[in-house]
């Protein structure tokens, strides 16, 4: 217990220190939202990787592999492919005009403040869902580390996160992300060999897992259509989620982006593959758990030496915090830049916008906590909440963003219809549709169809808005 407290004490102290330092280097909204657009490949790639790696990876992925077997591991492939598409297809055109937020881009490309507001509202709704998943997992970890109740854990977790994000903005988030990525990598580098050694080597680990649960290495753990459509959600969502694409604006130029995204791709995929190996270990060691989400904390507590176990739990906490802080930034910017500055007070000064942003982040961070405390989404596996968020993002933004960069004729009516139709379809499917197909498939198809049909039925967008994105580079 005391070792865990020391490790966590040092970790939190470092995070606060970074928040405080960042406050001093934040002068205007561009610093606060995209770290001034000055990031190199290492920081840029690290912040992207840390943002990607959430409780979904450390608790969720291992939980699902523990439950359904290795077939879920194939979903991992959608991650490197989505980063490849992001760097090769999206980034070259997306970054031709540097903006501050995704809704900012939507307004510029479609020449429409209404489209921007729709995007901002969708982000606020979806981010609430995602943050909730992380807070639930945060409570679980705090319960194990500090022995406090999960509810107290959730409150503590949210308070720490809000403190450094509100104060330091994107600069704080980027540097804490780097720290958190280092902790995650270190945690896995130590935990994986120890888990493997605990089970007498890799060969035995594979044999034991196969013998303990014959379904582990079969395709029967998960229905094919569900596996495929979930992969599609991660693929499409990976390309166009706002907290990731905004990091393209934070990096210096295309050359930096190509290297940064490669770094992200290698680190993230490597981490998920390592987590998958730990998941095999958890199948052998703890074959029957009340919920798969407990697999990683159990491994950390039961088979790792105290310091490494504490490090692993700090890594899980880092994974959650680095994701939520980035989402808070995205949600805060949606409120302050896209809604307040654009619609309510266009003449607002920099200082005033930053105050609104900080208040907005406080509110957006508190709502999911209140929702969780009142019992909404209780008992869902963390990974499936993450997947729902990704599906909502993919259904609303993939078509308006990617098609908008390659099809000149796409206009604001089409984009608004695509965003609203996509998210509504995905939500409806999640609530009432068959569970064997992920909501992203119908959401994405409806969104694409609406973009096409509605754009063709209404006037083309003004040349002045479209041309910057279609100029030869």
């Amino acid at each position: 217990m005391s070792v865990r407290l020391v490790v966590f004490g040092v970790y939190f102290a470092l995070v606060f220190f970074i928040g405080w330092i960042s406050l001093k280097s934040t002068d205007d909204p561009s610093d606060y939202w995209i770290a001034g657009g000055r990031l190199g490949w290492l920081l840029g790639g690290a912040t992207m990787a840390a943002t990607h790696t959430s409780a979904g990876t450390f608790i969720g992925t291992i939980g699902v592999i523990h439950t359904v077997g290795w077939s879920f591991g194939w979903l991992i492939l959608s991650v490197p492919i989505s980063y490849f598409l992001m760097a090769a297809v999206l980034a070259p055109r997306f970054t031709r005009v540097r903006k501050l937020t995704l809704p900012d881009f939507i307004e510029a490309r479609y020449d429409s403040a209404a489209a921007r507001s729709v995007a901002a509202v969708i982000i606020l709704i979806a981010v609430t869902v995602y943050i909730q998943a992380q807070i639930v997992a945060g409570g679980l970890v705090a319960n194990i580390v500090f022995g406090i109740t999960p509810t107290q854990g959730m409150v503590l977790f949210t308070a720490i996160l809000l403190a450094y994000t509100v104060v330091g903005g994107m600069i704080a988030v980027v540097y804490t992300d780097l720290l958190q990525l280092a902790i995650m990598t270190l945690g896995l580098l130590v935990a994986v060999p120890l888990t493997v050694r605990h089970l007498d080597g890799f060969a035995n680990l594979l044999d034991y897992a196969r013998v303990m649960r014959p379904l582990t290495f079969s395709w029967e753990g998960m229905p094919g259509p569900l596996l495929f459509t979930m992969g599609l959600a991660f693929l499409l969502g990976g390309v166009a989620t706002p907290e990731k694409v905004v990091r393209l604006y934070a990096m210096r130029d295309m050359r930096t982006i190509r290297r940064g995204v490669l770094f992200t791709l290698l680190i993230v995929t490597g981490m998920i593959l390592s987590v998958a190996v730990v998941a095999l270990g958890s199948i052998v060691l703890f074959p029957s758990l009340p919920t798969g989400d407990l697999a990683m904390p159990m491994v950390a507590r039961a088979i790792l030496p105290p310091v490494v176990g504490a490090l692993m739990l700090a890594a899980i906490t880092s994974a959650m915090m680095s994701t939520v802080d980035s989402l808070l930034i995205v949600a805060g910017s949606a409120l302050s830049e896209d809604i307040y500055h654009r619609l309510i007070d266009p003449g607002a000064s920099h200082a005033r916008r930053l105050i609104v942003a900080r208040l907005g982040i406080l509110v957006v961070g508190t709502v999911p906590l209140l929702m969780t405390l009142s019992g909404i989404a209780e008992g869902e596996l963390v990974q499936f909440i993450v997947l729902l968020f990704t599906a909502l993002m993919a259904s609303s933004f993939f078509m308006p963003v990617v098609a908008g960069l390659y099809w000149r004729r796409a206009n604001k009516q089409g984009a608004i219809a695509a965003m609203l139709g996509g998210i509504t379809t995905a939500m409806t499917w999640k609530l009432y549709g068959p569970g064997t197909v992920d909501p992203v498939l119908p959401g994405f198809l409806v969104s694409g169809l609406l973009l096409l049909v509605v754009s063709l039925m209404s006037p083309p967008p003004p040349d002045s808005a479209v041309t910057p994105y279609f100029m030869p580079s």
Partner: protein, 39 residues
């Protein structure tokens, strides 16, 4: 020992090792694209 490892990997089947091979191929494709775009 290493023979045991190969046997274990083979017994786990394509579902296991195919994933690592596929990942390797994607990385090679990315590196190829990166080189090409910077030429």
């Amino acid at each position: 020992m290493s023979r045991h490892l190969w046997a274990a990997v083979r017994d786990a089947g394509f579902i296991f090792w195919g994933l690592f091979v596929a990942f390797g191929l994607i990385v090679v494709a990315y590196l190829w694209w990166m080189r090409r775009s910077e030429r």
